[in-house]
Subunit: 545 residues, 2 copies
């Protein structure tokens, strides 16, 4: 039996476009003489469709598309993710389903039994859980159909819930010959091992080979890495589809094969996730061109590099906007970088506008000392210039703030926080450096001077980030442990041998910056917990203040 | 038996402050010789605590506070909302509970059975539903303890779910003498009738008097109107606590009373919700002073009026920032309004900065026509000036965009969309006018000229909103029917006798503006569906485009 995992990159709600991809995969599967084709979770509408699921017409139209697909399944056994109506009329009106199509007919559905409702997932907002596992027969084989989270309870590796039901255990009562899983599992850095253990446990428990089809590409903040996979009945990884691009993973179950899967690459994966996240955000919306402010600092240098890779050098415009506080070297480094990348660089000084602003405000601010107001003013003038270019030339402004800054509120609303898309908001400064070294792994693209210079916002004389923030090697682990690992202040203080009041103060600052983050551009999630959807905390609160 | 609904205004996570309010209420209840005291849902931590519930220490600390409260219940039967641990270790780790305290002891809990997970509610993210109703005995009476949504299935008035379980029906098997309900029911315009019908049905079904304690005050975007109530066993409304302020509703069940409840006031309620929403956002965070741009248009006029009422005239600074496109009358109306309100008005022309910006960009923009770029530039210069004042004087900038503009993206990011708090983002232009007439109901506060002049952004010569947008009396019902009523384009076109392509185009524009709204300041929700938390739609999608 030959099985194909059709790893496609759907766009949310692009039913016509997604169905074209699906029909294309079916055509290719026929050429390859495949028997069984499996698609990803909610493949027809793309994952996650969010509140579009509340639109009755949306569900009906997907149903029509499912029928179109069914007609093209002559000689095939096809499993595809789709919402379906919960006919009982009780609780939520939908199931998150896998439709099983064969020879032009709908054989039935599997309804996802475990519905993740934590972090970025809110499936119980829309779906009712299915109440039983699903086994179909085809060509004399018993095929278990499962959806993503259905596997996770068995491993007990779910962070926020512990489900009563364990579909893997339920399936042990059948003699399963093949397990299919339809997934839409978002990428996050270092998640790989968990993912593989979960699937290996399921394959071993059912003593059956397992083929999993994962979504690939990005939708809004979520990036899906693809890497659809085939495990044998011992849970050994045998084949794996490409990462971060569409692919057909074709597996012949009758051929014994040893593993031939490329090793995954930690920081390289994060780099690719950022590139794909940006590219899909642009291209799925029909944007071609990006612009960004190039300060000579490392954040904007990395964003320029990522943009050149994601969109092509001819589609990236960089603007350097020096002020009286900019080091000469910042500008020259920006020039070198843009030459390396082959992108256009414009230079527009902000001094005249800064001076004019100071003069306008002078009668009102008379007698008051310079403070963050004047620093923010410079940052906002830059934002203004960038947005004027964005508006005039229809290029989308890239935001270059990193996660460490976003955590601490070390950023200017309507200044460096401007942008249609935030590339690094989920990448701490530590990883900004690591990614930059990765960029330079073969030859210097980002000038080394940028990597070695002390980070500075250059908004006043001789400023460095560390005038205001702890060193990043101290700060970043605290952020990671509080936001991602959900450790308490006490645990963090002990783990890193830091004074408790110091850690508590950092945590209070993280919460105090929530109002700023609420106005930040949409960003790419690359860690287990980003400062965006998936982390719902109140602005007004006195728990951590 | 005397029952008191202690209608308090908790701050999220302010355990110490909230407990002080709770203990104060217990003291007052003793003076009034009350037997039973009921507080609102999750009163100890405030509703909605969101992801603070994922913090183990948060739950533990609330438990400690519950014990403190228990010690102060000598001679009382007290029911109070609190999260509690789900000891089974299965599914979600918490219950949304009502703790029943009596004579210094914890008698037990009722666990909320129906967990709303739609719109702004995401209770299944945190809580496991309780599996049975709860009846306690006190002074010979059987008292049913219920929490908010527990009542709603019985009325079948829940919009997004239909629960399998109906706690009211389950309670019919007991002979109930008194029903208590702990609520945190957010205000929305015109929701009153539904609310009362739901509770009346429950009281009648159980043939028992019902006392409901609702939260009051605002937390982030949600405003709670209070209006705790007492219905008799026929479902007739007998007493009602004050709206939009703290109150003790004390009911003697042994005294037959006719209804003495003030009529509710539609638009006046919306006005008060906005005032309370703003006041609590400021005061709960320790902000005193607000500033805003006063254009001479109706939106900023209304916001200034609301701010003066919420914060006091001495705490509101208005800044008029005329340009070459501003009508003389706009400035003079702004002056008159600020005199009426007794607030300070500064006048700062933007012409020099606008000119300087145009000159700076001229070499780059040469040969290109004026377009929205130059309009946005003016708006952003104003934003810049306002933010400089905000930073220098520590006053929070009020955003004045209305819901119609937010729906259509008729606003400038980092320009008129600046602000720490958006007052009118959930108020359509139609209601902006209605609220302004309400303000002027006794005498003219907002100059009539502002109400009668055609709305204009004044960003180019002779501009009016209707150059770009349909008339608001056409637009606003479309927005309301699509966003709040969830009607389809076809239904809306038919209902309002509009061409279908015109309606479809408006809907596509609403979706296209999602990226802007994602960067909007937090706002006050006053309708059944606001453009903020509670409406989760993708930015990148091709369903409506």
């Amino acid at each position: 039996m030959k099985v194909m995992a059709a790893q496609i990159n759907p766009t949310i709600g692009d039913l016509e476009g997604n169905v074209q991809k699906i029909l294309g995969a079916l055509k290719r599967s026929r050429k390859a003489e495949v028997d069984v084709v499996v698609f990803s979770e909610l493949a027809i509408c793309g994952y996650p469709p969010e509140d579009l699921l509340l639109d009755h017409e949306f569900i009906e139209r997907i149903g029509t598309k499912l029928n179109e697909i069914a007609r093209e399944t002559e000689g095939l056994f096809v499993v595809i993710g789709t919402p379906s109506w919960n006919q009982s009329g009780k609780e939520k009106p939908l199931f998150n389903s896998a439709a099983v199509l064969c020879d032009g007919r709908l054989l039935g559905y599997h309804h996802k039994q475990l519905l993740p409702t934590y972090d970025v997932f809110d499936e119980k907002r829309y779906f009712e859980p299915g109440d039983s596992p699903s086994v179909f027969e085809h060509l004399g084989k018993r095929i278990a159909v499962t959806i993503c989270e259905d596997f996770w309870q068995h491993s007990q590796m779910v962070g926020y819930s512990s489900y009563v039901c364990d579909p893997v255990k339920q399936l042990q009562e059948y003699e399963i010959d093949l397990v299919l899983n339809l997934s839409a599992s978002p990428y996050s850095y270092r998640r790989k091992d968990t993912r593989l253990s979960v699937f290996a446990l399921a394959a071993r428990a059912l003593q059956a080979p397992l083929v999993l089809c994962n979504q690939v590409g990005a939708n809004d903040q979520l990036v899906f890495s693809g890497r659809s996979l085939h495990l044998n009945e011992k849970g050994e990884l045998i084949h794996q589809a490409k990462s971060f691009e569409e692919d057909d993973l074709i597996v012949d179950l009758d051929v014994r094969a040893g593993s031939h899967c490329p090793e995954e690459d930690g920081i390289g994966d994060m780099y690719r996730a950022l590139v794909v996240g940006m590219r899909d955000y642009f291209h799925k919306q029909g944007f071609k061109k990006a612009l960004l402010g190039l300060s000579g600092g490392i954040d904007s240098a990395l964003v320029a590099t990522l943009a050149q890779e994601a969109l092509g050098k001819e589609n990236v415009l960089a603007i350097a906007m020096p002020s009286r506080f900019s080091a000469e070297s910042s500008l020259s480094d920006a020039r070198i970088l843009s030459q390396h990348l082959g992108i256009e660089l414009k230079e527009i000084g902000i001094e005249t506008l800064f001076q004019a602003s100071l003069e306008l405000l002078e009668p009102e601010f008379k007698g008051r000392a310079w403070d963050s107001t004047e620093q923010n003013l410079q940052s906002r003038i830059r934002g203004q210039i960038l947005m004027a270019f964005s508006n005039k030339f229809g290029a989308l402004l890239l935001n270059t703030s990193n996660k460490s800054e976003m955590a601490m509120g070390y950023s200017t609303l309507y200044g460096d926080m401007c942008g249609g898309f935030a590339v690094l908001s989920d990448v701490s400064k530590t990883y900004v450096y690591e990614l930059s070294r990765y960029v330079n792994r073969e030859h210097e693209i980002i000038p080394n001077a940028i990597l070695t210079r002390a980070p500075s916002a250059e908004l006043k004389e001789d400023q460095t980030d560390q005038d205001t923030l702890p060193p990043y090697e101290v700060l970043d682990p605290v952020i990671e442990d509080y936001i991602e690992e959900r450790l308490s202040a006490e645990e963090i203080a002990e783990k890193h041998n830091l004074p408790l009041p110091f850690v508590e103060d950092l945590i209070a600052k993280m919460h105090a910056a929530e109002y700023k983050r609420r106005q930040a551009p949409i960003s790419i999630r690359v860690t287990q917990k980003a400062f965006s959807r998936g982390r719902n905390v109140p602005i007004v609160q006195k728990w951590k203040s």
